[in-house]
Each structure stands twice: as C-alpha cells, then as structure tokens.
Amino acid sequence: MELIEFVQSHWEQMLELAWEHVQLVGLSVGVAILTGVPFGIYISQRESLAKWVLAVAGMIMTIPSIALFGIMIPIFSVINQGIGFVPAFTALVLYSQLPIIRNTYVAIQSVDPNIRDAAIGMGMTPLQRLRQVEIPIALPVIMAGVRTATILTIGIAAIAAYIGAGGLGEYISRGISTSYTTMVQVGAIAVSILALLADFLLGKFQKWIAPKTPMSNKEAVR
C-alpha cells in the first residue's frame, strides 16, 4: 500500500528520474555500439588481436561497478568532472563493450565457412564480403549482444547514482541512507520494469531485422 501511495505522490519525479536513466543508458550503449561493433568486426579479421582484446574486455567486466566508478572519480577530477554524468557514462560504455565486441566477433566468425568460401570465390573484396554477406548474416547475433549490454547497463546505471549521475538509482541510494524502505523498493522495481521493457522492445527489433531464414532465427534466440 505504501508503495502505491509513494508512486501516486511521486509520479512526476519518477518519470523524470526514469528519463534520466534512459538517457544515461541510451547514450552509453549508443556509443558502445558505435565503437564496439566496428571493433568486433575488425578483430574478427585479425585473429591474433582478438584473443587480447577479448581478454581485456573480459577483465573490465570483472571489476565491480562501484570500484570502477571509484576509479573514474580521480581520473575525471582532472577536468573537473569527477562526479556526475561523465564518469558514469564512461564506466557504462566500458561495461557494454564486452558483450557487444564479443557477440560481433563470434557472429562474424561463425558465418558458415562455405558461405565465406563462396563469397571469396565470387570475387568479393574483404569489405564487400563483410558488407554484403557476413554482417547481414551476423546482425541478429550482434543485436543479441546489444540487448545484453543494454540490460546490463540499466542495472549498473542504478549504482551510478552514488556518484551523482541521477536516474532511478537515486531512490535506491537515498532510500538506503535514510532507511526509507519503500523508496528503495520503488527504485528497485522501477529499474526492473525498465530492464524488462528494454529487453522486450529490443527482442522485437532483433526479430524484425533477422534475415528470413529458420537458421538465423534460431541463432538470434541464443
């Protein structure tokens, strides 16, 4: 009951925080796509590099988010952005890299060797092969990486409230420090709903872009 009352009285503030959250996540994942996808494609053509890149990206993933935010503070203090949007955004971009790079790399790598062989045999240059054949085939799996990254980032962004980045995490951090359980619950539920909604919409999108083959649809579920 308290939950409903809280939501009723804080309706507008909640929407505002949710919007902040979406902006933070959207921008981070957007930038992560712009860097991670080309990078993943690049390392799929350079096998020796791939091992290292994936190892480094994997290491970043293992750093606890609160620690990574902590690391960002002194670094960005140099340009007077120690707390707030910039360090949060940077940390989230780093976190979303791994699923995006790895899925892109795996997707391109797992294109049927016969199909790659045919593309080469037809006289396609490496760029033509990527653009006309490999990337379209890999797209559903790349999209699955984006989906994973988005959901991951929505959760981690909640913690970014501790360094003043705003978003629905505000309710959680403020609720914990004031022992206001209802506020924590509302924050947690709201973040979950946001994650579920994003997952649902991206899932729809993923299906929509999948080439119409039974095989790639199955892969897209993965």
């Binding site: 049927d112 016969n114 199909i115 062989d117 045919a118 593309a119 080469i120 045999g121 037809m122 006289g123 396609m124 240059t125 033509q128 006309q132 054949v133 379209p136 085939i137 080439p211 119409k212 083959t213 039974p214 095989m215 790639s216």
Partner: protein, 334 residues
C-alpha cells in the same frame, strides 16, 4: 584453355613439409570438361582452388586463356571464373535473384542487363524466374539450391568454371538429373570446366578428360576410354575398379557395334518383342544387361523411327577390343 606447369603446393607442418600438390603439369582444352578424380586428400581440391587464387601455389605457373594468373588482380580473376561448391554456399540473406546476380552486380552491370540475365539463366536451369525471384535459399530443395548455385556461377558468362564436388551431397536420383542438366547446358555454353569428384562413374559420365590424382601427384590424364582401357599404373587400375571393362561399355553405343551397312527391314517394333530390343543410341553397358536376359542371345536394334535396323549378339561385343571410343560422350548422357 588452362595450362598448369609444375604446379606445387607445400604446406609446412611440425612433422615436416607436406606436398599437397606435387609438380602437376597438364592442359585442359577450351570448352572441355576435365574431372579431377581421386580419394580425399589427394590434392584435387587444393589444385582447383589454386586456379582462382584462393590458394597460392608454392611453385609453378598457371595460365588461363594464355594469361599467367599471378599477373592478374585476384578479385578480377575470380569474377571471371565461375565457382560452384558442394554445400552450395548460397547467401542466406539474399533472395534467389540477388544470389544469382552477385557477380554481375560486383562487375557493375546496369540493372536492365542484370534482370535480363537473371531471367535467361533461370530459364536455362529450368526454373521459373518469377516464381523464385523473391524466395530465399532455405525455401528450396537441395537440387534447386544447387541449380541456383550453377546459375550464379554462370551469371557473368565466365569462360572458365570451377566445380568442387557440386553434386556430392545430393541423393542419387537428383544427382543423376543434375549431371544430365549440366551436360545439356554445357552443349550450349561451351565452358572450360574443371570438376572435382571422387566418384568414377560421375567422372566417366561428365568428363571429356579425367585427371586422376594420388598424394598430390597426377597419376594419369586422359579420356575416360584411355583410363578404362589402358590404366597407366596399379593405382589407376585399382581406382577405376576391377569392373573397368564393364564401365568402359557405357562409353559406347549400339551404333558403334554395327558397321553402318544395315538396311531398314520391313519389320517395325510391333512385330518383335520390345523387351529384347535396343536403340542405336543405347549405351553398351545397358545393351549387355538386356542381352544377358534375352532367351535368343541376340537383340533387335531399332532406329529413331522405331524401325528394326539390325541385330546384335555376343560376337559383336568382341569387336570392342579393336575400336576406340568414337562416340561423343555428351550424347551418351541423354
């Protein structure tokens, strides 16, 4: 025309160098089908893939229509050579029409020309262009997919085609059908075709010449008749099989046993037992099989108008030792 001179491919491995292809020198004439035959790992596919520079030779020169391929841009070279592989390699993200017209699009043909070419190719393959235009490869049967694969390879009208076991994954009935389709198409397009196979029967049927390989070495290169009647060594004779003399029969037709002096008799097919009659164009392997079942130990021979033009019996088969295959192997496949 394709000329190979001392073509060698060495792969380095920990146990020492492996010669996948070892000093192969041979020629394939323009408009001919040459079948590369041999057990798996004999280097036939490696050799094939060196023709379009998907694999670079360690040593030796390859000339396609007089031009040394090492001097050519590999992408341009590949666009000028049709390429068909076993698992079709059709692009699943493209429709049938997009698949077939890949190379013309790479070559920058204009749209009208590409569309016309698509229609022409599909007609040639016996597939309705409009019915298949917007369909995706996975919607088609294996046989249809491979026909699209052949159409795609023919799209830019390349003088040379490389076919790497294109029919091996298909069931025997479909394979048989596609083999005769290929021969039918070849009669009009007259490409120089290099065809990798591991089946002696396919090689005999399709090849103007057959090249047999073992451990990267060319064992023998000759017409199917030469290989079957005079195998160069033990390996070739074992590979073509102990029934090679029977196989050789399929290279000849009943026509070859008759000396051309036969006259039309008044009899027509109504007056003889059609079960024990053969046509002039029936191949001798089939004729022998029918003869084995004939109670009179002889067969009536019919011409195109179903008129009896002669008889053959066991004695006639004895002539075979003396005659060379004179028949055009393509017409045998009908």
């Amino acid at each position: 025309m394709i000329e190979l001179k001392d073509v060698t491919k060495v792969y380095k491995s920990e146990e020492g160098d492996v010669k996948a292809v070892d000093g192969v020198t041979m020629e394939v004439g323009e408009g001919e089908i040459c079948v590369f035959l041999g057990p798996s790992g004999c280097g036939k596919t490696t050799l094939l893939r060196m023709i379009n520079r998907m694999i670079e030779p360690t040593r030796g020169t390859i000339r396609v229509n007089g031009q040394d391929i090492q001097q050519m841009d590999p992408y341009q070279l590949r666009r000028s050579i049709g390429y068909v592989i076993q698992q079709t390699g059709l692009f699943p993200n493209m429709t049938v029409e997009q698949n077939v017209t890949v190379v013309p699009r790479l070559l920058g043909w204009d749209r009208v020309k590409i569309k016309d070419r698509y229609n022409e190719l599909m007609d040639m393959m016996g597939l309705n262009p409009d019915e298949y235009r917007d369909r995706y490869p996975w919607e088609l049967s294996g046989g249809q997919q491979q026909r699209i694969g052949v159409a795609r390879a023919l799209a830019a009208d390349p003088p040379v085609m490389l076919m790497d076991e294109p029919f091996a994954a298909l069931d025997p009935v479909i394979r048989d059908h596609l083999q005769s389709e290929l021969l039918r198409i070849q009669r009009t397009v007259r490409k120089t075709i290099l065809f990798v196979s591991h089946q002696i029967d396919e090689a005999i049927r399709l090849g103007d010449t057959i090249a047999i390989f073992q451990s990267g070495k060319l064992m023998q290169h000759g017409t199917p008749d030469e290989l079957l009647s005079r195998p160069a060594n033990d390996f070739v004779s074992r590979f073509v099989g102990s029934d090679r003399h029977l196989k050789r029969l399929s290279l000849f037709r009943v026509r070859d046993l008759l000396d051309g002096t036969e006259k039309k008799s008044a009899k027509n097919v109504g007056q003889i037992d059609p079960q024990y009659a053969v046509h002039l164009d029936t191949n001798l392997r089939e004729a022998l099989s029918i003869l084995l079942s004939s109670p009179t130990a002889s067969l009536h021979v019919l011409d195109e108008d179903q008129q009896v033009v002669g008889r053959i019996n066991w004695k006639d088969f004895e002539k075979l030792g003396a005659i060379q295959s004179s028949s055009d192997p393509e017409s045998l496949a009908q």
